[in-house]
Symmetry: C2
Subunit: 315 residues, 2 copies
């Protein structure tokens, strides 16, 4: 249908980091390890397992090192950790994690409010961290948050995001990440950015980290596919929203992304049913319904018609 | 970005019918009338207000005639009623509704289970109803349910859907409706159908009625736009799922569709904030959270930053 679509897409599962991080109920480390093992069993090969942040700021991530110790070591599986400052990077190095993500906000206001750093200082620090991580032999994803809009500043110029990510590429980043932190992106704004960004960071790949805050996560993923993007971040169950806002949407749900990609004939190697089973298990742990759609559909479609015909009575 | 996109899209709000119909709690007729008035105030000009079905089968629709009496009569507003059998059509005529939707299932199994009619009989009846409605001077939308997949039969051949809708066009239908009742459609299957259907029913327009059951509602709307479709059914708050399955998704949320269309530069004439306000009011009445996304975002984006900065701490 669209010749530009990639034949295969690599999903990085970010549920254990972006999904878990602000859950008020602390998820036991053993359960986290079991979820990661289950996701690997489901076919995921790239998993962001933790964020190295101060445990007082994000208590859910206090067990990062402990969790990493418990993860299965498999040659085909790539674990990644998010590091937001030099201290976090040193922790990731000490934990012998082979891959990190270094990320700053493209919005000065957002940077000041959330990292307590002016944009220019955060950029300098990010570049130093990339050099340090590359010198230590790590694989480095380097990203720009609020790349498609900021709740404080509104639209973010694509030139700005391109400039940040080209600098990161020049420092040695192995891949660059466009994070639509606020879910404000659209197919139009995303294409505008990618048209500029892709040649600017070539030959390094661009990863899309899209939030579904406004219901456009999969729409923007489609727009990314049409620009030839073949790496996306997703989270089981669509975790990753703000749990303090009931019903707020998070990342694209892994199983929903796989369902769509399956229908498009784009390979992922991931079994969406298995991912959905883990998402449902997590719902019972966190005591809250997750926003993903396929985890509601799976029990019905696994050879079972709907429990009540009334649901399909009419158009 | 895509030259084929229409400059303007007409949304038919189906919340008062598809959204309300299976809510277990009876919504008072006055509130229904207030919702419709609110949706008109928000800019919607096409509203499907009721289904003329047996009150024992769908108690929520028992007040169809009463509701229609209470609706504001405005020249620019077009009310539509769903009729699934000749008795329903006669009720719509008696209620002096100027526009009806006549709809059958493209799936024989689904037709037998939900309408207690074999497909061939349902098709004959549908054609008779169209002739009767046209003879009475009504505007007729005629649709095929399960047009992009059936939970019982799986994929539905596009030839079959095209054949049904061409016959309906030939009987005099003013517009034909592709209903993705199960939400099983994809951009690929939808394009395949539209490539065949659009020339077959020309010059009558094709309406897309897309369910978000699998999270692909807006993705499929985008695919429809790329085929030049400019008429979509949506429901405030994304109502229309099966309320017996907690968290099940329904129609495309009107306010989410408007948000996306706004970002694409496609005019709708609808103020998504006002629609979201009504969706939130309905949540308090039905005591359940609706699956739409923008109704969660609106209170934050109306000039207010997020309540907690923690939500945007990281990518």
């Amino acid at each position: 249908m669209q010749k530009n679509w990639p034949a295969r897409v690599t999903l990085m599962e970010v549920g254990p980091r972006d999904g878990f991080q602000f859950e008020p109920q602390i998820i036991p480390t053993d359960l986290k390890a079991a979820v990661v093992a289950g996701l690997i069993e489901a076919g995921l090969t790239h998993i962001q397992v933790a964020s190295f942040v101060h445990p007082k700021r994000v208590p859910q991530m206090a067990d990062a090192e402990d969790l990493i110790q418990r993860l299965p070591q498999l040659d085909h599986v790539h674990y990644n950790g998010l590091v937001l400052n030099p201290r976090g990077l040193e922790r990731a190095l000490a934990a012998q994690l082979p891959s990190v993500e270094i990320s700053i906000s493209a919005s000065d206001t957002h940077s000041r409010r959330n990292s307590n750093m002016a944009f220019d200082d955060a950029l300098d620090q990010g570049m130093r961290m990339i050099r340090r991580a590359k010198a230590a032999g790590l694989y480095v994803r380097a990203g720009a948050q609020c790349a498609l809009g900021c709740v404080y500043e509104g639209p973010v110029p694509p030139e700005r995001v391109t400039d940040i990510l080209r600098r990161f590429r020049d420092q040695g980043a192995d891949a660059v990440v466009v994070s639509d932190t606020t879910g404000m992106g659209s197919p139009v704004s995303l294409k505008r950015l990618l048209d500029r960004l892709l040649p600017a960071v070539d030959p390094q790949p661009v990863v899309l980290h899209l939030h579904d805050t406004r219901g456009t996560g999969l729409v923007n993923m489609m727009a990314g596919l049409e620009s030839g993007i073949d790496r996306f971040d997703t989270a089981l169950g669509g975790m990753g929203g703000c749990p303090f806002i009931e019903g707020a949407a998070g990342n694209i749900a892994t199983e929903d992304a796989v369902n769509l990609l399956d229908m498009l004939g784009i390979a992922t190697g991931v079994d969406l049913h298995q991912v959905a089973v883990w998402a449902r298990k997590l719902e019972t742990v966190i005591g809250r319904q997750l926003p993903g759609k396929m985890l509601r559909v799976i029990p019905r479609s696994a050879g079972n018609p709907p429990p009540s015909d009334e649901c399909c009575l009419t158009p």
